[in-house]
C-alpha cells in the first residue's frame, strides 16, 4: 500500500508539475513543440493549449478511485507517444529542448528522457495492474 502511494505521488506529481509549468507559459511550450517533426503553428497551438491541462487532470485524477484507471491509461498512452516523438528526434539527430519540464528539467538529451518515460510507464503499469487486481478481487467477493 505504501509503495502504491509512493508510485502515485511520483507519477501524479510529475504530471501535475509538468502540466502547471506548461500552463504558465504556453508560448514557450509551443516554441519547444515547433522543433519536433510534423509540428506546425496550428498543431502546436492546439497541443500547447490543451495538453498541459490533460497532464494536470491526469496527475490529479489518479488520486481518485473513480478516475484512477482512465487517468493511468491516458498517462501510459501519453508516455508512449512522448517516447515515439523523442526517439524520432533522436533518430533524426536533432538536439532539441524536449519541452517536458522547461528549463528546470534536470535531464537533458533524448536517451535520459526516454529512460525517464520508461520508468514512469513502469509506475503507471504497476498502478494499473494493482488497481485492476483490486477491482477484480472486489467483484469476486
Amino acid at each position: 500500500m505504501t509503495f502504491r502511494i509512493l508510485c502515485r505521488t511520483l507519477l501524479g506529481g510529475f504530471f501535475m508539475l509538468s502540466g502547471v509549468l506548461k500552463i504558465l507559459s504556453p508560448d514557450e511550450f509551443q516554441m519547444a513543440l515547433l522543433n519536433y517533426p510534423l509540428m506546425n503553428y496550428q498543431t502546436s497551438f492546439l497541443v500547447a493549449q490543451i495538453l498541459p491541462f490533460i497532464e494536470l487532470f491526469c496527475g490529479l485524477g489518479i488520486w481518485f478511485k473513480r478516475l484512477e484507471i482512465w487517468g493511468l491509461i491516458q498517462i501510459t498512452g501519453l508516455l508512449l507517444l512522448f517516447i515515439v516523438m523523442l526517439s524520432w528526434t533522436w533518430a533524426l539527430g536533432l538536439d532539441i529542448n524536449c519541452g517536458c519540464l522547461g528549463e528546470i528539467d534536470p535531464i537533458k538529451g533524448q536517451p535520459g528522457l526516454i529512460a525517464r518515460d520508461i520508468v514512469l510507464i513502469g509506475l503507471a503499469v504497476y498502478l494499473l495492474k494493482t488497481s485492476r487486481f483490486r477491482i477484480i478481487s472486489a467483484t469476486t467477493k
Binding site: 511550450f29 522543433n35 493549449q49 490543451i50 491526469c58 478516475l67
Partner: protein, 135 residues
C-alpha cells in the same frame, strides 16, 4: 464521469487559457520579413552568427562561435566579424527576442556602412536559440 473529467474539463480550461492567458500560444505562422529567418532556416545556412546584445547579456550565454557586435562597441568589434567574413558568407544577427531592435540596427549598419550583403536577422533571437538547443 470519466469523459467529462478527462476530455471536457481539459478542453474547457484550454479554451479559457486561449482567451485569457497573456502568453497564450500563437495559432498562425508569424509573417516574417524577407530578411528574417527562423532558427531552422538560419542553421541550414551555416552562417556567421553576430550577437547584437550587450556584453552583460552575452555573459549569460550566447550562440557558440558567435561574434559580439553591439552598437556601443561597433567600430572595435567589427574587425572580429571581418576576420571571419569572406565573399559568399551569410551573416545572421540576433538579439534577445522579437521585441529588441538591436539586431535591426546592426543589420542596417552592416549593409549601409560596411557594405556587406546577405545579412539576416534571427526571428525570435536568443530566445529561439535557447528553445531550439540545450547548449
Amino acid at each position: 464521469m470519466n469523459w467529462l473529467y478527462y476530455v471536457v474539463l481539459p478542453a474547457g480550461f484550454g479554451v479559457l487559457s486561449i482567451l485569457l492567458h497573456p502568453h497564450s500560444a500563437r495559432f498562425s505562422t508569424p509573417e516574417l520579413e524577407a530578411y528574417e529567418l527562423t532558427i531552422h532556416q538560419a542553421i541550414l545556412l551555416e552562417p556567421i552568427w553576430v550577437d547584437a546584445r550587450s556584453i552583460d547579456a552575452r555573459e549569460r550565454g550566447s550562440i557558440p562561435d558567435s561574434i559580439p557586435l553591439n552598437e556601443d562597441l561597433f567600430d572595435q568589434q567589427l574587425v572580429l566579424l571581418l576576420e571571419q567574413w569572406s565573399p559568399g558568407s551569410k551573416v545572421v544577427v540576433y538579439c534577445d527576442s522579437d521585441l529588441c531592435d538591436a539586431s535591426n540596427a546592426i543589420r542596417e549598419r552592416l549593409l549601409n556602412e560596411v557594405g556587406l550583403y546577405e545579412v539576416y536577422i534571427l526571428h525570435g533571437g536568443w530566445q529561439s536559440w535557447k528553445t531550439y538547443s540545450k547548449r
